[in-house]
């Protein structure tokens, strides 16, 4: 006989379960959604939270790392100033600015209640998707009409006051449409939070989107992010992820190129300090011929922080003329810090260009000496050099207002850490 005994629930799993029982009746979507939620949550618990034995979680033993699971609702029902001045802010229970022409916004709750949305995960082993779908309470379904070049950026803002917050967005960008979206996560105080945010983003033919994720959670917060992207013919997406906060972070990026000529750019900045653990995991499927991608990740590691970038690029047998380039560069500023990069190229086509590289370095003493020899104090000189290391990523965005705003986020973080 071969009876698999399930390991007992960890404190984290137990707390999630307690929270689910407490809130499930009040979550939006009614009975139909509830049965989907219960099935997803049950599946998550019976598998257990992922450990490092699960390959895609190899560097993040989530089951043992998720210790603090705060109870109670966390989203503050208000909006703060947007990252980019003049942007329209969409937040839970609050809106700032008008929804621009060509943009249609419906509450996630409404779409769930009228049955036009179902709660689902990517697959059996999608822990982030399961957890988020089980608890998803708010978010937006956004449609950009074909041909609309939306000038006003849209900020999807999630300010939490501690406790739990689970957001789900569905964004559909029509043919030839263009828009900049900022997904911004902030905490308002010190109370610990557990936040999950899942976005499904679809770009139709020749759509052009800049999506920016600014994660600025508090030092005790856990944050699970996931963005699932499908790129149509000649569609272009620049995804910029700034991790500048949090205690336990997992940000997943899953992209498929569904139409020829599609281009994907990932630009990541991981600012890591304290005892935090930050994991950015990407899977990218070049599924059709003639598509391109570049991924540039810059990591700055202070204190005892640990970071991970996993980048998996699959090139399907039919995806000839794929051009994919990936780089992960780390500035390791502490002997106790750590950054692991795991590139994974699975190439089944023969006429492709694929490259990846990873570097780890410290600040060059001669750079520091030169700056200081002009009277720049050591801390300021170090900040300049750290910024120099990551600037390229942000300046690549080709939008000065956005670049300035992100410089501000980086500067603010660095001032607290250098």
């Amino acid at each position: 006989m071969n009876i698999q005994t399930k390991p007992p629930l960890t404190a984290g799993e137990q707390a999630l379960s307690t929270h689910f029982d407490a809130v499930k009746q009040s979550l939006p979507g009614g009975d139909a959604a509830l049965s989907q939620r219960s099935a997803l949550f049950g599946a998550l618990l019976s598998r257990g939270l992922p450990t490092r034995r699960v390959e895609s979680w190899h560097y993040t033993d989530f089951r043992s790392l998720l210790r603090d699971v705060p109870q109670g609702a966390g989203l503050s029902q208000r909006a703060v100033e947007p990252l980019i001045a003049g942007a329209t802010v969409l937040a839970s229970g609050a809106q700032d600015g008008v929804v621009p022409a060509g943009v249609n916004v419906v509450d996630f709750q409404t779409r769930l209640s009228d049955g036009s949305l179902t709660l689902a995960a990517r697959g059996d082993d999608d822990a982030v998707g399961h957890l988020n779908a089980a608890f998803a309470e708010t978010g937006f379904a956004i449609t950009i009409a074909d041909g609309s070049k939306v000038e006003t950026p849209i900020e999807l803002q999630a300010v939490q006051d501690g406790g739990q917050a689970h957001l789900r967005h569905e964004v559909h960008v029509g043919a030839n449409a263009g828009v900049t979206l900022v997904e911004r996560h902030l905490n308002s105080g010190d109370a610990p939070a557990l936040v999950s945010a899942v976005t499904n983003l679809k770009l139709e033919r020749e759509a052009n989107v800049t999506w920016v994720i600014v994660q600025g959670q508090g030092h005790a917060d856990s944050h699970l992010g996931q963005i699932n992207v499908s790129l149509g013919e000649d569609a272009r997406l620049t995804l910029c992820i700034i991790n500048a906060g949090g205690k336990l972070i997992r940000q997943e990026v899953h992209v498929v190129t569904a139409g020829e000529g599609a281009d994907f750019k990932l630009r990541g900045v991981n600012l890591l300090g304290g005892d935090s653990h930050t994991d950015v995991t990407m899977t990218l499927g070049h599924d059709v011929p003639n598509t391109t991608s570049t991924e540039i990740i810059r990591n700055v590691v202070f204190d005892r922080a640990r970071g991970v970038f996993q980048g998996q690029i699959r090139v399907a047998p039919q995806a000839q003329k794929t051009d994919a380039r990936m780089a992960s560069n780390t500035l390791l500023l502490s002997d106790d810090g750590e950054f692991s990069t795991k590139p994974e190229l699975e190439i089944f086509a023969d006429d492709v260009q694929c490259a990846h590289g990873a570097t780890v370095a410290d600040i060059a003493p001669v750079h520091l000496f030169y700056l200081m020899s002009r009277g720049i104090p050591e801390a300021v000189a170090r900040r300049l050099l750290v910024q120099a290391f990551i600037n390229e990523v942000v300046e690549d965005l080709d939008d000065e207002t956005l670049t300035d705003a992100l410089h501000g986020v980086i500067e603010t973080w660095l001032e607290k850490h250098v």
Binding site: P365, V366, H367, F369, Y370, L371, M372, S373, R374, G375, I376, P377, E378, V380, A381, L384, L385, Q387, A388, F389, N391, E392
Partner: protein
């Protein structure tokens, strides 16, 4: 203004002594040339004045305006008025030259308790100083020294000096890599900064530069010591006879 007393210093890593009992005094308003063959310790001396941590002072002292600077870090020394024009200016990718100049200027002002410069004032200052040195301001949009030619790097060093208005200027082989026209521009830039309340230490191993920046005193450095000091005629003597005679006499 500068008084170096019986200075002994070694490479921190290997404990190899490079400066071996060096004495040198430079007064306000004075331009002192330091000459010496390759490897005699000229650049090492300039780095030690700037406070580079690769070197360790084991004996003696360096006084700047009567006070020891040995306990000051690199930035503090710079803010107190010591400037080193590098023999090999350092390239710093990712840091725009303009931003670097502005931060340096304002940090020094802050350290002295002065107000920061406004952006228009700063730009005006840079523009006029650049024009004097025939520097194209487009160059200043590039990262610090990155992609600069040898001559551009040296001119950029003098530009920094002109903007920062230090009290003690140490110029390490500022003539190397310059053609005669560039040398004249740089020398004019340096001469424009000569003033009764500023001292200069001009390091070179050719007499050529000293035709354009005429020194008040000349000191010959050999194996980490000043082996001969005197007027500018020493430079001419060296030009004719090489270092062999002086070194021979000192050995």
């Amino acid at each position: 203004m500068l008084e170096i007393r019986n200075l002994h210093a070694r490479i921190a890593d290997t404990e190899t002594e490079i400066i071996r009992g060096l004495n040198l005094t430079v007064k306000a308003g004075e331009v002192a040339a330091i000459m010496g063959p390759n490897g005699s310790g000229k650049s090492t001396l300039s780095y030690i004045l700037a406070g580079r941590e690769d070197y360790e002072v084991t004996e003696g002292d360096i006084l700047f305006n009567g006070e020891s600077i040995l306990e000051m870090d690199v930035a503090e020394r710079a803010a107190s008025g010591i400037f080193l024009a590098f023999q090999y200016p350092v390239e710093i990718p990712g840091v725009a030259t303009m931003q670097f100049l502005k931060v340096a200027l304002n940090e020094q002002r802050k350290a002295r308790g002065e107000d920061e410069l406004s952006t228009p004032d700063f730009l005006r200052l840079v523009k006029s100083a650049s024009a004097d040195l025939q520097i194209d301001t487009a160059m200043l949009k590039r990262p610090v020294n990155v992609g600069f030619s040898g001559g551009e790097k040296k001119r950029a060093e003098i530009l920094q000096m002109a903007l920062l208005q230090p009290k003690l200027c140490v110029l390490d082989e500022t003539d190397s890599g310059l053609d005669i026209d560039a040398l004249k521009i740089v020398a004019d830039g340096v001469n424009a900064l000569r003033s009764p309340d500023r001292a200069m230490v001009v390091i070179t191993h050719y007499q050529r530069l000293l035709e354009h920046i005429v020194p008040d005193t000349v000191h010959v450095l050999y194996k980490g010591q000043v082996v001969k000091s005197g007027g500018k005629d020493i430079a001419l003597e060296l030009e004719e006879n090489g270092y062999a005679d002086i070194i021979g006499a000192a050995a």
